[in-house]
């Protein structure tokens, strides 16, 4: 199948989800997968293309959620609240980036982890602003162009549009000269400097891009749940999205999406049938590392190619005999 045909088929499948999944519950699960896919794609900009592993991204996601919830509770309209929240996210991303880009590798990971934990502590403790562990309820979803998003299906399409925008922007970004520069800083930062690149600034801008989409995912999550609590900022949430990226395949467009689907489905759907679903999820991660250390998507592609060439070779050999 050619590439445009594959893209068209994928779009058709995504656009028709509410028609064939049968129940609004599954439509909601599909929305959740898309929201987490946006988040995982955003983190993948850093993990996959910049080689910077963040364990604090739930902090940026959570700032988006909280800012939106707080502004809505304060009586702002949906559009201004969302725009202001995005601005705040960009600011927070800049602060995160300036602090964490003092290091790379494990140092970067630890700084982001500490930042995330500090934000979590603030959300928990700064009760007058965040409501503490009770969180903040959001009482309405927006109605862009007069379309109310209260039902599962309209909200799914709203999420799908933003998801496609995220995927599109990632695809353009990855194929662009700047994307190539970013990948260069991942593989040979020292060489990149010698070639005249400003490695720090490239990483900084990539961080902003990653933070922006993390924040968008956070806004969607807030609207989806109509509720925010410190849980969204917890270390577990940062680890979860990182696991999505790694298990799906870093540095690919489809990998984080597959990883998000895997985790969301395990957590929400499979957990209804398998009591020890945490055990199974852990085992799946370990199995991925054993059989497809590069991640689900690249690993499956490799397996498929191997099978395909094997199948084509087998009859050819038979004919020679």
């Amino acid at each position: 199948m050619s590439r445009p045909a594959a893209v068209a088929a994928a779009l058709l499948v995504l656009a028709s989800v509410p028609l064939w999944v049968g129940n609004s519950y599954y439509v909601n699960i599909a929305s959740q997968i898309l929201i987490y896919a946006v988040f995982a794609l955003a983190l993948n900009v850093l993990v996959g293309y910049a080689g910077l592993v963040s364990l604090g991204h739930a902090g940026l996601f959570g700032i988006g959620s909280y800012a939106l919830a707080w502004l809505l509770a304060d009586g702002w309209g949906h559009l201004p609240a969302a725009l202001a929240a995005l601005l705040l996210i960009l600011g927070a991303s800049a602060v995160f980036a300036v602090l964490s880009l003092r290091a790379t590798g494990i140092g970067f990971l630890m700084i982001t982890l500490a930042l995330g934990q500090i934000l979590w502590g603030l959300a928990y403790r700064w009760i007058s602003l965040t409501g503490g562990d009770n969180g903040i309820n959001v009482n309405s979803r927006p109605a862009p162009f007069g379309v109310a998003l209260d039902g599962a299906t309209p909200f799914y399409y709203f999420t799908l549009i933003l998801f496609l925008a995220a995927v599109g922007s990632m695809a353009v970004f990855v194929a662009s000269p700047f994307g190539a520069s970013l990948k260069g800083t991942r593989d040979q930062p020292r060489r990149m400097t010698a070639l005249g690149y400003n490695v720090w600034l490239i990483r900084f801008l990539a961080f902003l891009f990653s933070g922006f989409w993390s924040g968008v995912a956070g806004l969607l999550f807030c609207y989806y749940n109509e509720f925010v609590s410190p849980n969204v900022l917890a270390l577990g949430s940062s680890a979860e999205v990182l696991l999505m990226v790694i298990s799906g395949g870093t540095g690919t467009l489809l990998g984080p999406i597959a990883g998000a689907a895997l985790v969301v489905i395990m957590k929400n759907v499979a957990s209804a049938y398998i009591e020890r679903w945490n055990l199974v999820l852990g085992a799946i991660f370990v199995a991925i590392v054993i059989f497809m250390p590069e991640g689900l998507v690249p690993g499956s592609v490799r397996l498929w190619r191997w099978l395909w060439t094997g199948m084509r070779r087998a009859p050819a050999r038979g004919g020679a005999r």
């Binding site: 003092r102 494990i106 990971l109 982890l113 979590w120 603030l122």
Partner: protein, 286 residues
């Protein structure tokens, strides 16, 4: 006055426990560059092993040693079967160690249930001792002694034995160690088992203070991370001093700055990372 003295003594005691918790993490991280996110699980699993043996009527110290051996075996299997093939692949290491920690946590819940299980300190160490104007639980003082003994044993192992020399060579320069004919792969297994064993041992030793419950793993892992960041990786002295500092910070911080309770440990960790990335006593930048 006596409150501050109590906090001081307790800081040292908590520091001792934190050292037992983080020494293994530091060794593994320093030598193998593996951020072993199952370390908290090793601690918890050790505590569960220990409490099970205690319930069978075993002697406390014997239970602690056997639990340590058991966790060493678990660690050995994980290193040989999984981590072995992932050298240098940090992301795969993160995935597999987190995946394992999910599995261990859920298995513990399955086997030992959700209720917290209390530990008794060994008989004879259960009371309290008077120190100047305060009384302090005897067992907590014993923890300090255990930490010192383990620290001394690890120090002797690292500084005075051939194995230790090889481990140190590996910490300083893996490639160089390989060139000089050291069988790095075997050293890795030994260090991983050793680190796991100390964590499992610490779980039992910590039992009479912390008890054991689902979620103990998640409570402990960040503490180990903080100690290692503060002290510097791969440095025994760093882990020891880092643990003490965290002990003091935790005790006095909670009292003096209750408003900062949630960030009292992560804020210093962040500052260290920003301004002294190799840790207070570390040899290299991680």
């Amino acid at each position: 006055m006596s409150q501050w003295l109590l906090l001081g003594v307790n800081s040292v005691s908590l520091g001792g426990l934190l050292f037992l918790l983080s020494a293994g993490f530091s060794l593994i991280f320093g030598l193998m560059r593996i951020p072993n996110l199952t370390h908290g699980s090793f601690f918890m699993l050790g505590a569960y092993f220990g409490v099970t043996l205690l319930q069978l009527g075993w002697n406390f110290w014997l239970a602690a040693l056997v639990a340590a051996v058991g966790i060493a075996a678990v660690g050995g299997v994980i290193e040989r079967l999984l981590l072995r093939r992932l050298a240098g692949q940090e992301l795969a290491q993160v995935l597999v160690t987190l995946g394992l920690s999910f599995m261990i946590a859920d298995l513990c819940l399955m086997v030992w249930g959700g209720d917290p299980i209390p530990f008794d300190a060994p008989p004879g160490l259960r009371g309290a001792l008077p120190i100047a104007s305060i009384v302090f639980p005897t067992y907590r003082l014993v923890v300090v002694v255990i930490a010192v003994v383990i620290a001394a044993a690890l120090w002797l192992l690292l500084e005075r034995t051939r194995l230790g020399a090889m481990i140190r060579a590996g910490v300083d320069d893996e490639a160089m160690a390989r060139v000089t004919g050291i069988r790095v792969s075997r050293i890795f297994t030994i260090v991983f088992c050793l680190g796991a064993a100390v964590a499992g041992f610490a779980g039992v030793i910590g039992g009479p203070i912390l008890s054991v419950y689902p979620g103990l793993d998640g409570d402990m892992l960040p503490l180990a991370l903080i100690v290692v960041i503060l002290g510097g990786t791969g440095s025994l002295l760093g882990a020891l001093l880092g643990s003490l500092i965290i002990g003091f910070l935790y005790n006095y911080g909670q009292v003096l700055f209750p408003e900062l309770a949630y960030i009292i440990l992560f804020l210093p960790m962040l500052l260290i990372l920003l301004f002294r990335p190799q840790g207070l006593f570390g040899r290299h930048v991680p």
